[in-house]
């Protein structure tokens, strides 16, 4: 299976669904160490991404992710809008006309680099990077070992969830949670939580 246009669209659509379903959990996580809007932001942003896909009817999976990224940037606001928006746009650029697991791994890596570049966070700062970086690594390792798209995506989603769990003991060094200093310890990072959901959505839509 390659990541074709329909699958790319399905990924975003499914991500929008599960983020919406889990909106209040994300908001709760953000209320604890941020400003309590992450769930609403991303639900709004991903809904806009879906609308943008419906409107643009992209012809390639790369164009689909780029359109989704533009939709996210245009409607999310906050830190996560530019970060995820840039991430999806970079992934789309890398992805081009669709590709197998290895190519998708490269696209996810482009996503990671884009987010790192504009946000300036590194792993351990208690951000979405802490879920995304291990997810990308796991995806690439699985793909390198010959896993298909679904299997690699499952590995990525599992790694993202583990990365999320690993944010709990960290003290935030980026984003609003950093203002809390030591009080940010003991909570999951909301952006890492949404990244884990987005990775899980990829695993679901690539299931055979």
């Amino acid at each position: 299976m390659t990541l074709d246009t329909a699958t790319a669209v399905a990924w975003i659509t499914r991500a929008a669904e599960i983020i919406r379903a889990d909106e209040s959990r994300l908001t709760g996580l953000d209320a604890a160490i941020g400003d309590g809007d992450h769930g609403a932001n991303l639900a709004r942003g991903l809904a806009a991404a879906v609308t943008s896909l419906e409107e643009t009817q992209p012809e390639s999976p790369g164009k689909a992710l780029m359109a989704a990224g533009r939709g996210l940037v245009a409607k999310t606001g906050g830190a996560s809008g530019p970060l995820y928006g840039t991430g999806f746009r970079r992934a789309g650029k890398e992805l081009g006309d669709g590709t197998d697991a290895t190519g998708v791994g490269d696209a996810l890596e482009a996503m990671l680099r884009g987010i790192e570049e504009i946000g300036g966070a590194v792993q351990g700062d208690k951000t979405m990077i802490d879920a995304l970086a291990p997810a990308v690594a796991a995806f690439q390792e699985a793909a390198g070992n010959g896993a298909d798209l679904h299997a690699a995506a499952v590995a990525a989603a599992d790694a993202a969830e583990a990365g999320l769990a690993a944010t709990v003991p960290l003290q935030a060094r980026k984003g609003r949670a950093s203002y809390l200093g030591p009080r940010s310890v003991g909570h999951e990072d909301p952006g890492a939580a949404s990244t884990a959901l987005i990775m899980r959505a990829l695993a679901e839509v690539t299931a055979p």
């Binding site: 908001t27 209320a31 160490i33 941020g34 400003d35 309590g36 809007d37 609403a40 932001n41 709004r44 940037v73 245009a74 409607k75 999310t76 606001g77 906050g78 830190a79 996560s80 809008g81 530019p82 970060l83 504009i118 946000g119 003290q171 060094r173 980026k174 984003g175 609003r176 950093s178 203002y179 809390l180 200093g181 009080r183």
Partner: protein
């Protein structure tokens, strides 16, 4: 949660409709969420700011002669999006470039940066000044840096006055930067505000607790402290400011309410601030006491101290006519 709203979704458009109805001198684009001055002065540097909603009168209340040319309010406590900031930038552009006054939050900084890039694509020169005056947050590689709070108002007023006088973009930007360097703020909350969509306060405090070093988004502060007389709370805030940038000479003080604190308390708090500053050899040369940068219905105060120069006093005193600040005209 009881609020004077129609529904959590309608809060921002309803408030913008009200702003439009109350101030016919402003252009208020309710759909795209842009507040701008009805008239542009050709050749004047444009000033744009924006950020999350819930801080009223910031930012729309500072659009008008002598301050901002346009403002872009986001969702409650959420920075605006690039297209919106771009549209505000275009509304403010009168051929001499546009200053973005951005509060230092990751979301604000990133969205304004994207908007600036889009504006430059359209051949509008943009300079951004990031305000980061909140001493409650350590400015180190371990944080996203200090937050921008009350100093924003001073920067907007001073830079706006200079732009009105015909100063060029670099001069106007440099003044905003100077204000930022000379301004420090600190806030303490007694009760958190309630985001309409969330329906409950951002944090819960016991009857004898206060939240020390809070920001303007209902985020918890750096620590919880014991409730104390206002003299002690104001002293705590001023100690923190003074430790960072020793106060001296003429200062501007904003004794700001967070939205749910009545004026009688703010005047009492200001009395303590004036005493404290006098005791430390500084003179309150200018002041504002009231709700200028708020957190919905949060109870508490923030205090901003700007160390003045003659030039800053002159620009502060220059005429201004906006919904929230008006004098000399």
């Amino acid at each position: 949660m009881k609020k004077l709203i129609n529904s959590p979704d309608a809060v921002i458009p309803d408030a913008l409709r009200g702003l439009a109805a109350a101030h016919p001198g402003l252009n208020v684009d309710v759909e795209n969420r842009i507040i701008s001055r009805a008239e542009r002065t050709p050749g004047k540097v444009g000033l744009v700011s924006g950020g999350g909603s819930g801080h009223e009168p910031l930012h729309g209340g500072y659009v008008g002669r002598g301050m901002l040319d346009a403002a872009a309010p986001g969702e409650v406590y959420t920075s605006p999006v690039p297209d919106q900031i771009l549209a505000a930038t275009e509304a403010a552009d009168a051929g001499a470039g546009v200053l973005h006054i951005v509060k230092n939050y990751t979301g604000d900084v990133l969205n304004f940066r994207m908007a600036a890039e889009l504006a430059e694509d359209d051949d509008v020169r943009v300079v951004s000044v990031v305000i980061n005056d909140d001493v409650a947050v350590e400015d180190s590689t371990f944080t996203a840096g200090r937050r921008g709070v009350g100093g924003t108002i001073v920067a907007e007023k001073v830079a706006g006055a200079a732009a009105e006088e015909g100063a060029d973009l670099d001069t106007v930007a440099q003044l905003a930067r100077e204000v930022n360097e000379r301004s420090r703020s600190f806030a303490i909350a007694l009760h958190a505000g309630t985001v309409p969509a969330a329906g409950k306060p951002g944090f819960e405090l016991a009857g004898n607790e206060v939240e020390i070093g809070v920001g303007i988004h209902g985020e918890p502060g750096r620590q919880r402290g014991e409730f104390a007389p206002v003299k002690d709370l104001v002293g705590y805030a001023l100690d923190a400011i003074h430790a960072d940038l020793p106060v001296s000479g003429d200062v501007l003080v904003i004794m700001n309410g967070q939205g749910g604190t009545p004026l009688i308390e703010l005047y009492g708090a200001f009395a303590e601030a004036a005493d404290w500053l006098q005791g430390h050899g500084a003179t309150v040369a200018r002041n504002l006491v009231g709700n200028y940068i708020t957190s919905l219905d949060q109870a508490g105060f923030s205090i901003t101290v700007t160390s003045l120069t003659d030039e800053l006093v002159r620009l502060w005193d220059a005429p201004v006519s906006t919904p929230a600040l008006r004098w000399g005209v």
